[in-house]
Amino acid sequence: MVKVRRSIVFISIIFLFSTMLWGQRVTCTVSKTNFSIQEQVQITFTFENIKNSPRSIDLKLHDIFSVIGGPYSSTNYSWVNGKSTSTHKVSYDIIAKKTGKILIPAYEFKIKNQVYKTEPFVVMVSKTAKVNAGDLSVDMPSMFMETVLDKNKVYQGETFTLQYLLYTAENVVNYTTTPLNTLDGFIVDRFDLNNSPNSTKKVINGKEYLIAGIASLSLTPTQSGEFVLPQKPFRISVKRSGQSRTIFDDPFFGTNTKDINIVAPSDTITVLQLPAASGPAFTGAIGEFTMKVKIDSTVVQENQATALHVELTGRGNLEHFTFPEQSFPEGFEVFEPKVKNNFKLREKDYSGERSWEYVLIASKPGTFHFDDIVFTYFSPENKKYITLRSPVKDLRVIPHNELEGDYTNALSPDEVRVLSKDIRFIQMGESKIYDSNYDPVQDHKNWFLYYIAGLLILFFIVLEIIWKIRMNNMKQIRYKNALKTALTRFNKISDEQDPEHILLEIEATFINYLRDKQLNDNVHADIPGIKKTIETYKYAPGMLSHVQLNQLKDQALVLIEEIEKV
């Protein structure tokens, strides 16, 4: 009897349990299985009779669909014939990015140790919509937002960016949102509201949209796992349609705009854990980098400083790591490195360069060998750790001088900078080649100007001698040249000249000729006559004519000719 009762209880429990499980299922459906690339459809997950079902789902379809809305969540309870049933729905608005047959995969949900699975199915995405003209844009909102991630899977510490795209069929005037400063599991590198975005056009469900990236968010994950990036609300100001500008547009009376609150959908990102065995030279650098190492001088004096420069160039999470600790030989005082940052957060991550300057002061003389400078980073492209290694030249430290005295004090930063100066570069060619026994005193080229000066002195001396000789024989020279000079001067006289001037010229030429020839008035009977005529003409200069003067000139010439004959 007892056995029978036990069996009944057991069967009842199994029955009860099976009835509980009965009807527990998850289904995935799409509002249309045959739609166009321009059409918005809704994908819905229905959890029947399952408690603690998820409120958002990673669709894992980022490459195929854009999520433009959701997750929309609703729960429905009903009581039929004493039986309670619950239906929880999570849906997303999506738009296809590709055409053709698309497989919607099986989604697996683990809820309270129970695994539920949806059935996979295929949807058909065509290029153009097969809908009636009247149906066009009926279901399409005038405005919606899309969240676009540049990567769906990142490594812990890898910087990534998500963009908020606004699809609008309205005339947008302005938009605002609250800045995002913190997010659990992430470092917020930047939240940027783009005030002048570039826009493109796209037709969806027959409705033309302007698409613009109005905001972007750069994040660096600090933990691994699956993270839901939350929805982001925006307030969009649009111009009211069909209204012309009125006096009410005046800022004092308000503008002709309306505000619309819109939410960018949430998205899910998978943060992978970094592989183990990174080594001591890994300090969290993730990206692609190159390294340069340089030491200012290879010879320094004891207690003087030199600087070791390490420069990293590339792209990645440049903001989020320090340079690995380096070991230096004993006998060196090494200061905290001076860090110089010259990088920018670009579209996806940081790019540029970072440098570390180590000031080294040697406390004892000798030649010091440095270990290689080592830096390890994780390359997401190659999915492995890469170690950069750069050797440092040996440093020679010269002992300080007893004569000079105190060198024990460390140098000031200014003095360190002076030491950083290097010698100038070598000469690329020879301008002038000398003999090794070259003596400038014996080089004739250096004395060239002296030779010229000597020649010039000689030249002037000769000139002076000639001048002196001429001066000594002046009377004789004049006697010889008297006729020639007189004829030349007479020939220069022309009728175009002023009569008074001609008279003076005739007088001067005639008198000079007589003086050069050392003749007096008695030599020829006509001489006094000509002189008298000249004197007479002088008293009546206004009465003179060119004919009279020509006659006088001819008389003088005839007289000179006669004198010359004698």
């Binding site: 290097d422 010698i423 080649i433 070259y438």
Partner: protein
């Protein structure tokens, strides 16, 4: 006559400005030395430049590059020695001054001298910046200019028949003062270079002894790069040197490198 003078001047100028025929082998070797330096093979660049120096044909660029190569090779003494040699040939080259200034920071023996009287300082500066060749040429130029001006004034006075005594006196006094001043500096520089020989300490640390024997008393110690005056040599084994005039002693000749050999 005029044509003759013009032709002679042109011919003389051509003779003076006739460049040295470029030696392609030397040029090639020089470039090899430069390449070795750029390729950071400093020992090779030293060897090549020394080979060029041995050909008895030198240039300030050759000495300068040797100085640079020695500096990069960690041989401060030889670097300073060759930069000093380069400075004798091209005293106004700023690159040499710059490198010597850098090298000075690494010289251990440093003596801080009291400030000189400004006139002496100026005199020393002229001596350092003017090469003997340039000084001789400048004096020649001044002489030529003076004679030319005197000749022109004389010609003017002959033509005018006026006596320009004041002009003669002005030209003569200005030019003669300049020429005498510059000649004195040049003669002094030439005399000093002939009489005084300088050398650079090439070894890390050298003991300066009281006598030219190994067991003599150590007077003081000098270090690589210090410049000393060589007073006399004994059979190329020992050199009597003075360091800033007041410290005199004996050093093994191999420990120093003379600037002008």
């Amino acid at each position: 006559m005029k044509h003759m003078i013009t032709i002679s001047i042109v011919l003389l100028l051509c003779l003076v400005s006739l460049p040295l025929a470029a030696d392609p082998t030397r040029d090639q070797l020089f470039k090899q030395g430069v390449s070795a330096y750029i390729g950071e093979d400093y020992q090779l660049s030293i060897d090549i430049f020394l080979q060029l120096e041995e050909s008895n044909q030198v240039s300030w660029e050759l000495f300068y590059n040797l100085g640079n190569s020695y500096y990069r090779n960690g041989e401060l003494g030889n670097a300073i020695r060759y930069w000093e040699k380069a400075k004798i040939l091209a005293p106004s080259q700023s690159d040499i001054d710059h490198n010597l200034l850098i090298a000075e920071k690494y010289i251990i023996d440093k003596v801080v001298l009291p400030d000189m009287f400004p006139l002496f300082k100026w005199y020393k500066q002229i001596q350092r910046q003017l090469s003997l060749s340039v000084s001789i040429q400048i004096i020649g130029f001044l002489l030529l200019l003076m004679i030319l001006l005197l000749g022109l004034v004389r010609r003017a006075s002959r033509l005018n028949g006026k006596n320009h005594k004041a002009r003669y006196i002005t030209i003569l006094s200005v030019f003669l003062v300049l020429i005498v001043l510059l000649s004195s500096i040049t003669i002094d520089t030439a005399q000093r270079r002939k009489k005084e020989k300088y050398a650079i300490i090439l070894e890390d640390s050298v003991e300066i002894l009281s006598e030219p024997t190994d067991d003599a008393m150590v007077l003081f110690i000098l270090h690589e790069g210090s410049k000393v005056k060589v007073n006399k040599n004994i059979e190329d084994l020992w050199s009597n040197i003075s360091y800033f005039d007041d410290k005199v002693g004996w050093i093994q000749s191999s420990a120093i490198g003379e600037i002008e050999e």
